[in-house]
């Protein structure tokens, strides 16, 4: 039998429960079955996944589609292509402390928001403000590293934070807060910014040189995702296998959260997991072009390719929490 094709795969961040599909696929030999040797490395952020792939250091990774849009606008030849849209709901959200008195998005005016520079949530705030008719002049944004947002929110240095809900929710839990009771969540998806977010992307070079490998990769990950949706305990075993430092309780809840809030949606039930709706994607591209003041609007085909997706029937994901 021929040598396995090695694919260097970067995660979006440090090991998280929501990445379990990859670990599960690896542990159960799904990649091997496709003739692939997938090496999974931890990442530096879902935006950086794009850089890592563009530079050639990685062949594939789990990252933010909005970063692809941004790069597809300026370097269409280099930008990676999304081949499997995992999270079809945006995790971008603003979380406010109840004590700050913020009840509606109108209340952001006159308050300080903490944002991590460069994260889509922070970058898209002007679009959010514009779309919802708020006065941007009155909203103060303070920059800080992502892992400082929740502590500073709790401490009261900021009134609300521009976050990923899947990250921030559990950060608050870990900071011994009750994210549901003491905090108010404003999801971008609910306020007119109906964006896509993280998924599996590959380099154009890999698509050109080894389309079979790409298809195999997607197939294996799809299998992993569907399996994990059924059995999160097995998923956590695989994650623990990859990184024994994780906090299993929290990561399991994070995995479940990702299904509940980001993956399972009416759209997914309609078109299956991994695919996108082109008109929604076009709209999303429009938001990004507006928010990042891009000069060129890429087409959905430049950003997402459904060429490698398994047939619709194989992409029937049923989530059961256990």
């Amino acid at each position: 039998r021929a040598e396995d094709t090695t694919i260097k795969f970067t995660l979006g961040w440090k090991t998280q429960g929501s990445d379990a599909a990859f670990f599960y696929a690896k542990d159960n030999g799904y990649f091997k079955e496709e003739g692939l040797n997938v090496v999974i490395d931890q990442g530096e952020g879902s935006g950086a996944t794009v850089t890592r792939i563009m530079s050639g250091a990685y062949d594939a990774g789990f990252g933010d589609v909005n970063a692809i849009i941004q790069n597809a606008s300026t370097r269409p030849q280099d930008a990676p292509v999304m081949v499997y849209m995992m999270w079809n709901q945006p995790p971008f959200a603003i979380v406010a402390k109840n004590a700050s008195g913020i009840k509606t998005i109108k209340d952001f005016e006159g308050h300080t928001l903490g944002g991590a520079q460069g994260t889509p949530t922070t970058r898209l705030l002007p679009v959010f403000v514009h779309k919802n008719g708020l006065d941007g002049e009155k909203i103060k944004v303070s920059n800080m590293a992502p892992n400082l947002q929740e502590p500073m929110l709790i401490k009261g240095d900021i009134d609300a934070a521009l976050v990923f809900n899947i990250t921030s929710y559990f950060n608050l839990v870990l900071n011994r807060q009750d994210p549901d009771k003491d905090f108010k969540w404003f999801s971008f998806g609910d306020y007119g910014l109906d964006l896509y977010s993280n998924g599996v992307m590959v380099s154009r070079k890999l698509i050109a040189s080894n389309p079979k490998a790409v298809a195999g990769l997607v197939r294996a990950i799809n299998k992993g995702a569907i399996a994990v949706a059924k059995d999160q305990n097995a998923a956590m075993k695989a994650a623990l296998n990859y990184d024994n430092l994780i906090n299993v309780d929290v990561e399991k809840r994070r995995l479940q959260y990702s299904f509940e809030k980001l993956i399972v949606s009416p759209e997914m039930k309609d078109i299956g997991v991994g695919d996108v709706k082109d008109e929604r994607m076009a709209r999303a591209i429009g938001f990004i072009v507006e928010g990042y003041q891009l000069t060129r609007t890429p087409t959905p085909a430049e950003v997402f390719s459904r060429e490698f997706l398994p047939p619709r029937a194989e992409r029937e994901l049923v989530y059961t929490a256990n």
Partner: protein, 258 residues
């Protein structure tokens, strides 16, 4: 011999230029993507174009760094003097200081931010805490290795420990003090920028963070060049002072065989 001095300087300048030319050529020849390593020409162009925007950030970082640096030097000299003079202080402080220095400051910045809020204060503190150690080490070593004969000159006069420190220990240590300043000033910049990266609304660290999340790699490198430039500028400044203060130590006989 001022003529040969000038030739010397020109020669060094040429070598530095050569470095950048080599870099440029390397990038061109290997077809390096500017996402990985931009060419110096790109960087300089970006720097030039964005300079008006960068300027307030440069000032911010420079001011922060200088405050941290000055405090760091003061702390470093004081601690170095204590360690260099007292054996107990040596045995106690050195392990603690080495331990503290082995800790990446990235891990400490968040604590500063939570205590003092984001912005200038943590940047100053980070800058201070990263730059004082080389000074401590060199001052302490300089004092500990001061020739007893030199100290005896003052001791025989009944001079106090402070007198000896002031008149013998510190002057003797000057060449190595200036050496450590070169390390300290670079690290002071690193510290300030680090803190700005973690939590700040201004400063080069902030600019670089934004640029990097924008995939504007030339701007990131422009920021790095600004930092390098500031570091070198301060190095040159200290070199001038150093020339005045430590000339005695680098004397070479005017008439010397090769």
């Amino acid at each position: 011999m001022p003529v040969s001095d000038i030739r010397q300087k020109v020669w060094s300048g040429a070598l530095i230029v050569l470095f950048f030319v080599a870099w440029e050529l390397f990038c061109l020849m290997t077809g390096m993507s500017d996402l990985v390593l931009p060419r110096p020409s790109q960087i300089f162009v970006t720097l030039f174009e964005k300079f008006p925007i960068l300027w307030p950030h440069i000032v911010q970082t420079l001011v922060t760094t200088m405050i941290g640096f000055v405090l760091g030097v003061a702390l470093g000299v004081a601690l170095g003097a204590v360690i260099g003079v007292s054996k107990t202080a040596y045995d106690t402080c050195y392990p603690l200081l080495v331990g503290f220095s082995s800790i990446p400051k990235v891990a400490v910045v968040p604590i500063f931010v939570l205590w003092f809020g984001s912005g200038t204060v943590p940047a100053v503190l980070t800058s201070l805490s990263i730059c004082f150690f080389p000074i401590v080490v060199n001052i302490a070593t300089g004092l500990a290795t001061t020739e007893p004969e030199l100290e005896d000159v003052l001791k025989a006069l009944g001079a106090s420990k402070l007198d000896i420190l002031w008149n013998v220990g510190l002057p003797r240590t000057m060449p190595f003090f200036f050496a450590s300043l070169k390390v300290a000033i670079s690290y002071a910049f690193v510290g300030a920028v680090l803190s700005e990266t973690v939590a700040s609304n201004r400063g080069i660290g902030n600019v670089m963070m934004t640029a990097s999340s924008n995939f504007n790699v030339p701007l990131v490198f422009a920021g790095l060049f600004v930092l390098a430039g500031l570091g070198v500028a301060l190095y040159v400044l200290f070199s001038l002072i150093e020339g005045q203060v430590t000339g005695w130590a680098t004397r070479k006989d005017n008439v010397i065989a090769t």
